[in-house]
Amino acid sequence: MIRIFAIYCASLVVLLAYANYQGYVLSNLFDSQSHASKSANHYHK
C-alpha cells in the first residue's frame, strides 16, 4: 500500500510538472474569472 501511494504521489508531481510546462490550467476552481474555451470554428466578426 505504501508503495502504491508513493507511486501515486510521484505521478501527481510529474503531472504537475507536465501541466505547468505545457501551460495546462488543471482546474479553474481556484482561479477567479478564468474561463476560456476553444472554438474549432474559424473566427468571423
Binding site: 504521489c9 504537475l16 501551460g23 495546462y24 488543471l26 482546474s27 474569472q33 476560456a36 472554438s39 473566427y43
Partner: protein
C-alpha cells in the same frame, strides 16, 4: 505422539464417558453429559461441583485441532465468562500441544486473541495505568471482576461455574496484557489479536462476523501512518519546488485601448504576438470604472489556422456611502486564462460591451502574459495528494474513538463525547 494418549473414565455423577487429552496436566475435567466438575489430579475422581446442565455447543468444539503460529493445537477446554458490572460475555478456549504446552483463544463480539501465560509478573501491574513490557508501553483499558458462567472440557487448574477473578486489561494494539487476581494467585497473560478468518481457516469452521472494535484490534494503517505522512510531505515539497520554478510568467503584450462613445460596437485588435512553444496565456484587463460595468468578449485567434480561443470578462465596480458607511463591490480588474495554447502567432480581438460610459469614452488596459505559474494547478494536485492521508488520519481517529468508547480509561483526545459532571 503423546497428544494421542487420551485417557477415559466414567463420570462419578452420571456415568457418562469423560475423556482427558492433556494427561498428566489436567487436574479438573467437566463431564460432557452432565457438566459435573471432576477432580482428575488423582484416580479418586472426586466431584468438585455437581451439575445437571446439558453440554452446550461452542464455536470451536472440544477436540477440534488447528494450526496457529505453525503449531498444531487441540481445543481441550472452554470457559464462558462475564463481567459482573458490564454484563459483557467472552469465551476462553484452552488449547493444548504436548510439546508447547497451553495457549488460550479468547473471543468477544467475534474478535479473537491468542494468549499465553507469561511469567514476567510485574508487582505493580493491575494497579497502575501504564505498564511496560519488552520496551512497549501498555495502557490500561479496563478493570473489572469476571465470573465463570459455564465450563466444558478439561483444565490444568481447578475451575468451576461461579469462580470469580479481578482483572485488568492493558493494551498496546495488537497486543493485550491481562492481569487476573483471585485469592490463590495472580496471573498475567499476553494476547495478540487475530482476525476471525485466521481462526476459521485454522480450525476449518465458520465463525460469526465480528462487531465493533476490539480493545487491541490493530487500527487501520497500523504502523504505516508515519510513512504515509512522510511521503505526503515530500510530494508536497516537490510540487512546491516545481510551482516556484515556473516564475511569474513572460509579458507578451501590453496596450491601452480607448473606446470612444461612437465605438461601442467596434472590435479592437492587438498587434500580432508569438508564442514560441505551447503555453498558457493570461489576459488581465483593467478598466477605471466608476459605478459602472463593462463586458469584454476576448477572442485569441491563431494567425495561421484561424483557430479561436474565446473568453468573456465581466468587470463591474460600484461604491457609495450609505448613511456614513462606505461600501464598494466588484473591482476594476479581470483576468482570463487560455490553457495550453499551441505555439504560433496570435492576436487578441477585444469586443467591448460598455455600460453607461461617459462622453469621453473609456480606457481599457490590457496585459497578456504567457507561461504563468497557475497556483490552481498546485492546489489541485495538493488536494489529490492530501486526500488519502487525510482520509487515513480521520478514519484512524474514528477507529480509535470506537476502540475507547467502551473504556473508562480513554485518553483525553478520545473523550470529546463525555460530559464533565
Amino acid at each position: 505422539m503423546a497428544g494421542k494418549a487420551v485417557k477415559s473414565f466414567s463420570c462419578p455423577a452420571c456415568g457418562g464417558i469423560v475423556e482427558v487429552r492433556a494427561v498428566g496436566h489436567t487436574i479438573s475435567a467437566i463431564c460432557a453429559h452432565c457438566s459435573t466438575v471432576i477432580d482428575t489430579a488423582n484416580d479418586n475422581l472426586k466431584i468438585i461441583k455437581k451439575e445437571h446442565e446439558a453440554s452446550r455447543e461452542t464455536d470451536i468444539p472440544i477436540g477440534a485441532k488447528g494450526v496457529l503460529d505453525s503449531i498444531k493445537w487441540e481445543v481441550i477446554g472452554y470457559v464462558e465468562k462475564k463481567d459482573k458490572s458490564y454484563m459483557s460475555f467472552w469465551d476462553e478456549y484452552l488449547l493444548f500441544n504436548p510439546y508447547f504446552g497451553f495457549r488460550f483463544l479468547l473471543q468477544a463480539d467475534g474478535h479473537w486473541n491468542l494468549a499465553s501465560v507469561i511469567k514476567r509478573y510485574q508487582p505493580l501491574a493491575g494497579s497502575v495505568s501504564e505498564v511496560e513490557l519488552d520496551g512497549e508501553k501498555f495502557s490500561v483499558y479496563c478493570r473489572g471482576q469476571s465470573i465463570v458462567e459455564y465450563v466444558k472440557g478439561e483444565f490444568y487448574w481447578r475451575v468451576r461455574k461461579g469462580d470469580e477473578d479481578k482483572y485488568v486489561d492493558y493494551i498496546a494494539p495488537p497486543r493485550m496484557l491481562s492481569v487476573e487476581k483471585n485469592r490463590q494467585e495472580v496471573s498475567e497473560s499476553l494476547a495478540e489479536y487475530l482476525e476471525p478468518e485466521v481462526i476459521a481457516k485454522a480450525f476449518g469452521i465458520e465463525l460469526p462476523a465480528k462487531s465493533g472494535v476490539a480493545p487491541n484490534q490493530p487500527a487501520p494503517f497500523h504502523g504505516k501512518l508515519g510513512r504515509i505522512w512522510q511521503i505526503t510531505t515530500l510530494s508536497i515539497l516537490a510540487a512546491l519546488l516545481i510551482q516556484w520554478s515556473m516564475g511569474s510568467g513572460t509579458m507578451v503584450h501590453t496596450s491601452q485601448l480607448h473606446i470612444a462613445q461612437h465605438e461601442r460596437d467596434k472590435t479592437f485588435s492587438t498587434p500580432v504576438f508569438s508564442l514560441p512553444r505551447r503555453a498558457n496565456l493570461f489576459v488581465a484587463s483593467m478598466v477605471p470604472l466608476n459605478n459602472d460595468w463593462m463586458e469584454l468578449e476576448l477572442s485569441l485567434v491563431n494567425e495561421a489556422s484561424n483557430e479561436t480561443y474565446a473568453a468573456r470578462q465581466v468587470i463591474e465596480y460600484y461604491y457609495g456611502n450609505d448613511g456614513g458607511d462606505y461600501w464598494s463591490e466588484g473591482g476594476q480588474v479581470a483576468e482570463s486564462s487560455f490553457s495550453a495554447v499551441p505555439a504560433g502567432n496570435y492576436r487578441l480581438l477585444v469586443d467591448p460591451s460598455p455600460g453607461q460610459m461617459g462622453p469621453n469614452g473609456m480606457d481599457v488596459s490590457l496585459q497578456i502574459k504567457r507561461n504563468v505559474a497557475v497556483w490552481g494547478n498546485f492546489w489541485f494536485i495538493f488536494l489529490l495528494i492530501i486526500a488519502f492521508p487525510l482520509f487515513a488520519f480521520l478514519y484512524r481517529w474514528y477507529f480509535e474513538n470506537k476502540r475507547w468508547e467502551n473504556s473508562d480509561y480513554a485518553p483525553a483526545i478520545y473523550r470529546s463525547g463525555e460530559s464533565d459532571d
